[in-house]
Amino acid sequence: MKQLLSIDDLSENDIESLLDLAASFAEVQKRSVPKVPALRGKTIVMAFFEDSTRTRSSFDIAARRLSADVATFAAGASSLSKGESLRDTVETITAMGVDAIVVRHAHPGVPGAISRYTDAAIVNAGDGRHQHPTQALLDAYTMREALGEIAGKRILLAGDILNSRVARSNISLFTRMGAEVVVCGPHTLLPPHRDGTMFGYPVSVVKNIDDVIDSVDVAYMLRIQRERIAEAVIPGIGEYRSVYGLTAERASRMAPHAVVMHPGPMNRGVEIDAAVADSDRSLVTQQVANGVVVRMAVLYSILGPGRFDTDDERAVVEDLNLVDTPDPAEGEESGSDHVDPAPQDSSTKPDNASDPATKVKETA
């Protein structure tokens, strides 16, 4: 895997492999020192042209747990604001000697455009309304953890689909992994959908959330932005909650096993009632926690010594260097940007053999 621009770049097998790898890293998370030297000597730049505290923190923590060096490049939403072209900005970052650039930008397509100006690997951390591939992966991971598998599940995606990069990535991933996706939201906030497809994937649209709430396995609620009222695409917040919101009353009609998800940040009392967000059904905090391990898997797959290889999934696990100690050479420059895989430590093998990835695999 050279970079990650869109969830569409990943095959179903790629996605499974990444989720398995993330499960291995979940094991690391539980250790007293939750850090592995896998990306020691690698430099990752967080290029956030749009504010995003949570995604940036998640990538930052993921990179540091892999022992990568992390720098942050925060710029205004518009390259024009500084008079510098996107190309100059990226060439400047590249000239500092970086291995990967994690890009968040308000405008669709920018991560792909940037990849034309640099040899560094690009990871899309959200580009306008276009894509948010690591969000889709962490949602899939969370769903797999909670429900065992994604195939065959019925997922309600509710709210502002038109303006949501999360929806674009998730509809691709969920449908390709075999889930049935049902969409419900104000029709001013739905993209063109004809012949039962949306963004080219099979999706059914329902007008009444109450018709489906009792039959879904997942209710995935999207954030509604108050600006939509000024744009005259929705009448008001109160009406939004009553027609499209996941109220406590609606949540009470969900199946016992069914779960609730939200990409955050939530508008409590608007698209989701506070009681629902805090209920046992809610996977919101698990989504955030899983974001770190999924992003570790993505960064490792792009920059790690074994590199993610779909043709030889086992090789990924073999190459995983999950030593349970902090990097002994910390602070010491090796003078080489090549990271030698640490010697195989047989004591780590049992960990690997019993890692959650294997368990999840068995249930899948």
Binding site: S79, L86, A106, V110, G200
Partner: protein, 431 residues
Amino acid sequence: MSTLVLKDGRVVDGNGDRIADVVIDTDSGLIVEVGKGLGADEELDCEGLVVSPGFVDLHVHLREPGMEAAETILTGSRAAARGGFTGVVAMPNTTPSTDSVAVVEQVMAAGRKALCEVSPSAAISVGRKGEQLSPMGELVHAGVRIFTDDGNGVQDAKFMRSALEYAGGLPDDGRPVVLAQHCEVEALSKGGVMNEGEWSAKLGLGGQPAEAEDLMVMRDIALSRLTGVHVHFQHVSTAGAVAMVRAAKAGGLPVTAEATPHHFSLTDAACASFDPVFKVHPPLRTDADRAAVKAGLEDGTIDAIATDHAPHTDESKERSFDEAPPGMLGLETAFAVALEELDLPLADLLALLTNRPAAIARMTDTQGAALAAGRPANIAVLDLEHQWEVSGAAMSSIASNTPFEGRSLRGRARHTFYKGEHVLANFEVTR
């Protein structure tokens, strides 16, 4: 008198399609004679080549004054010569806007040194803001015949009605004015950077619905009926617009329309690369729209091929798709793309590039008419078989934003004569 004969070419113009010689007086810049077995001081072998009246482009952005980093009148005229064009209508969205006699005269002065005839259009409204009428009477007196706020449409229906009535009633020299409209209802297109449809949905880019164009075409057809004044529809790009223009013409209304090579050859699927070279207004549409535009050209509904040649610097196109300015180069590729895409006899195809646009631009005194003794020697010599690869860097424009980069095309102007001057010789401009 020194003369040059274009020998044994296939002459295709309003007088037909035949093998003939064309003798030019290079001193006076006029055609001396068209016929068989003619001689002259010098000879240019045109056997196997097509000799046509020079092309006329109703729609080019030459960027002067104000944006000379992307194009000047001189460099744009070189691109025109390379495309076989001997006459172009310069759009008024310059800086400052071409909304005064002073700017018109500046464009005309630079045009006198150009490699083709440069006819400035002028803005309908001061600053192209749609608030106050430009001094149309003075502008007509200075020689302007096309008014347009191109880059933007005139949003207010009452304002457009006033502009049509006022301009239509001005004293002229028998060549009545034309009001040309960039059809886009901005309230509906606002926030859109590409065509609204399945591609914009998937890419997360803001869409402009086809209806933003359709509604203004519909309105201006009604205003043309109301005022009786000629409305010309610029860069028609939707199936709906083509159908409405067809119906309006059938109803006898004084409307004309142009279409660009990019709208009849490319679709919004090209935007999937997020490459801003494909950002243009009106946006590249669906395949059904593209087919409708082609059909409109083929059945005569659309009167002319116009390029909407819109140079932008590399650095301005190296922004995000949202931020990059809309527009693409067109002069050097128009003929080859038309030849490739349109299913028309050569004479009909050439009419879309010669006499028909010349009539709309009120340039028939100098451009577009059949080659004949006494006419200005504005001539394109076309090599229909020449295969070439498009390269923005190799073009004469300062900018290089061609959407056809790397494409192999067939057909190209080999020679262009402007007022008898050999401005393009074997694909190369001579000055």
